[in-house]
Amino acid sequence: MTSMNVITIRYFASLRERLGRSEDQVEATGLSCVADVWGRVSAESLPANTLVAINQEYASLESTVRAGDEVAFFPPVTGG
């Protein structure tokens, strides 16, 4: 997919392993919020403690997504 009408989705850590991939690209048409994006890439419900980001800023499942966005899903962070 090389069109601009694409949303890139990234997964990290245990969620990445669970899905068996680190990235997806989907057509943005019909996707209005982060929850819609998850529904497009997985039939499973999102694990309760999952954090989300849009363009590398924390966001919520209700946050609006647009074509060209990078959306990320990941478990609670454990650095430091």
Partner: protein, 145 residues
Amino acid sequence: MTILIQKEGFDPWRELAAYQETHTSDWAGRYGATAVFIGSLRDFNQGQAVTGMTLEHYPGMTEGYLEKISSEACARWELLDTLVIHRYGPLSLDDPIVLVAVWSAHRDAAFAACRYLIDELKTRAPFWKQETTPGGVRWVEENKP
């Protein structure tokens, strides 16, 4: 304000000495307090032996949030400078994982800002620890205070 996210191991004491040597001219005669936190890899967690660790991060977002957190500290307290170094990739026992250092005129600001930086880093910077134990690898699900 300096942030380094690196795969290579580092000696926090040498890093501090080198940083002070190259930056002291910026704050010569003005810093009366340096507060430092160093986090290292322990050999146990949640009752199990830990023999190693791999740290995953979100390149770009990690740097972005560490910059955000450092800027917030600089806005909230009167600081002369801040330094954050954090590893990613494979780590061995006793390896330093993170260094946070704060320079200011007085100790109150230095202690408070150092504490703020490490606490915010632990809750907002996108890093994930995967521990190696005798029973295999496991993801750390949450950070202890």
